[in-house]
């Protein structure tokens, strides 16, 4: 099978991605010599460190989400595989400014365990950590322990914002947890992605079907739908998200319309439009909107919608300036 991707030896892929980030960040991000860890070169002294990172293959999450107001260090795993404890530990040391380190991770068994082991090793080294997990996929019953999707962007953005105000580790972790608790996401896919190591599709989708409720690694969805137009599909998704809380008239939310890889921005704009209309019908105010590739599954065609129910503190933090060093650059 010809792997039609602009890569070199898959063995070096994780390192080469990170090198690309370093080049693109023009001195603002460095890469550790021995381990795939990206680190901001000028972390504000006395700041609570933020470490993120999961499996690779979801770019710009997380390699692109480093910078002032975002992560201080990114632990890079292999394709779709949580980073190993030594990588997370090295990121922890690099991010720590003596005020402790906040781990923000999505709820997947692999991430959970590797971060847990890293936290134990960090504790041995005298670094205090707290961990907040996003798990907002409404396609799963809450008692299963929902997995995290693109909503992790908001947890990071708001944690980054509050750490920028001089918050301590507990304040930052408590805020991040409140964000995580108020996130809801749902994803749909039109065509699968493929693993760069093998070229294999992560799953098959029929010509006229949509997969609903996939994870971010190309895991099969929980159901399939017949192909639908954008408006009814968006309505279905928004209803499911809003009904899950449930949201009430008067609630204020942030909206993230996330491209999972190959969905055009044209489509995302169409979906954004309908999501706003549908939320307005429910009396819900969209305070701000993010559109684009934030958490991808290789070249999967599909998108996810994320709502974050806001309180006054979150809303104020959301408006704080932040900068990614290698992506989303205006």
């Amino acid at each position: 099978m010809v792997i039609k991707k602009a890569i070199n030896d898959p063995e070096n892929l994780v390192r080469e991605i990170a090198e690309g980030v370093v080049f693109a960040a023009h001195g603002r991000v460095r890469l550790l010599e021995d381990l795939p860890v990206l680190v901001r070169t000028a972390i504000e002294p006395g700041k609570v460190g933020i470490v993120v990172g999961g499996g690779s293959g979801h770019e710009p999450m997380y390699q692109g989400l480093i910078g002032p107001g975002y992560a201080d260090a990114v632990a890079c795993g292999n394709m779709f595989a949580a980073p190993t404890p030594d990588v997370i530990l090295a990121a922890t040391h690099a991010a720590d400014q003596g005020k402790g380190v906040l781990y923000l991770q999505a709820n997947y068994a692999g991430d959970n365990m590797n971060y847990e082991i890293a936290a134990e090793l960090a504790a041995d080294d005298g670094i205090v950590t707290r961990t907040v997990r996003t798990g907002e996929d409404v396609s799963m019953a809450p008692e299963l322990g929902r997995r995290g999707l693109a909503g992790s962007f908001f947890t990071l953005k708001l944690a980054g914002a509050i750490c920028g105000t001089g918050a301590d580790l507990d304040q930052a972790a408590d805020l991040a947890q409140r964000v995580a608790d108020n996130l809801r996401s749902l994803s749909v896919a039109f065509s699968p992605g493929s693993l760069p190591d093998t070229g294999e599709k992560t799953f098959e989708i029929a010509e006229d079907e949509i997969e609903v409720g996939m994870g971010v690694h190309g895991e099969k969805g929980v159901a399939t739908l017949k192909m639908a137009k954008a408006d009814p599909l968006t309505d279905l998704m928004i209803d499911k998200l809003a009904g899950d809380y449930p949201l009430a008239a008067g609630d204020r939310v942030a909206l993230l319309v996330n491209d999972m890889g190959a969905t055009t921005l044209m489509e995302l704009y169409v979906v954004t439009r309908r999501a706003h209309q549908r939320l307005a019908e429910k009396g819900i105010t969209v305070v701000d909107t993010w559109i684009g590739p934030y958490c991808t599954t290789q070249e999967m065609a599909g998108f996810s919608l994320t709502l974050l129910r806001l309180d006054a503190e979150m809303e104020a933090l959301l408006a704080r300036p932040a900068a990614n060093e290698s992506f989303l650059r205006p």
Binding site: G77, A82, T84, M140, L144, H217
Partner: protein
């Protein structure tokens, strides 16, 4: 009691590691069905590191082999299986008394400790459709098996395989497959498959 064992335990561990590396594609296929399709890649990375750690190890102390191999695996696999198998081997190695060739009973006890560490780490239990469903009956068989290590390992491998087969009828409640619910039925658990192939290769090399 006649000793059937043909190779040292360290050689057995090396052969078992190579067997998992060689099974990369079938493990990946299994993970495609109910997970994210990377299990074979992660395990190949991890068990290659395991084998490299053995190659670097001086002498053949079984406890040291398991610990060094487990640590190398944990620091290279990534994902759920890296943490799970790494935890298993490291904890088992810590629990095993020194010596190049473990007694079956001591090995069974060490593996049981390893499995408990897996449970503590991952919070999964028997029936959740994980490697535990292969490991638990396998370790029980080893504990109840003959005094001869090679024979005992053969029994262990047999029990692992029937444990793995049973995972086909389980609905996943943990790991990536849990979202699938009933859609996970009919497929064996990838991690259980890895554990089984590992046991079979170890038994084959030792017997």
């Amino acid at each position: 009691m006649e000793a059937t064992q043909k190779a040292g335990f360290k050689a057995g561990l090396a052969a078992a590691a190579e067997a998992v590396v060689a099974a990369k594609d079938v493990l990946t296929k299994a993970d495609q069905a109910i997970g994210d399709g990377d299990h074979g890649l992660g395990m190949a990375r991890g068990f290659r590191a395991f084998a490299e750690a053995l190659a670097k190890q001086e002498g053949g102390d079984a406890a040291a082999s398991l610990q060094a191999g487990g640590r190398a695996l944990m620091m290279s696999s990534g994902g759920a299986s890296g943490a799970i198998f790494g935890t298993f081997f490291q904890a088992a190695g810590k629990a095993l008394p020194p010596g190049d060739l473990p007694e079956p009973a001591a090995l069974a006890a060490a593996f049981a400790t390893g499995l408990q560490a897996v449970r503590d780490r991952g919070k999964a239990k028997a029936g959740d459709k994980t490697m535990i469903d292969a490991a638990e009956p396998a370790i029980a068989a080893l504990a109840a098996g003959p005094q001869d290590l090679a024979l005992a390992l053969t029994g262990m491998a047999r029990a692992a395989r029937s444990g793995m087969d049973a995972t086909r009828d389980m609905v996943a409640t943990t790991g990536k497959a849990r979202a699938l619910g009933e859609r996970s039925l009919g497929h064996p658990d990838p991690g259980a498959m890895t554990f089984t192939l590992w046991c079979e290769a170890l038994a084959a090399r030792m017997g």
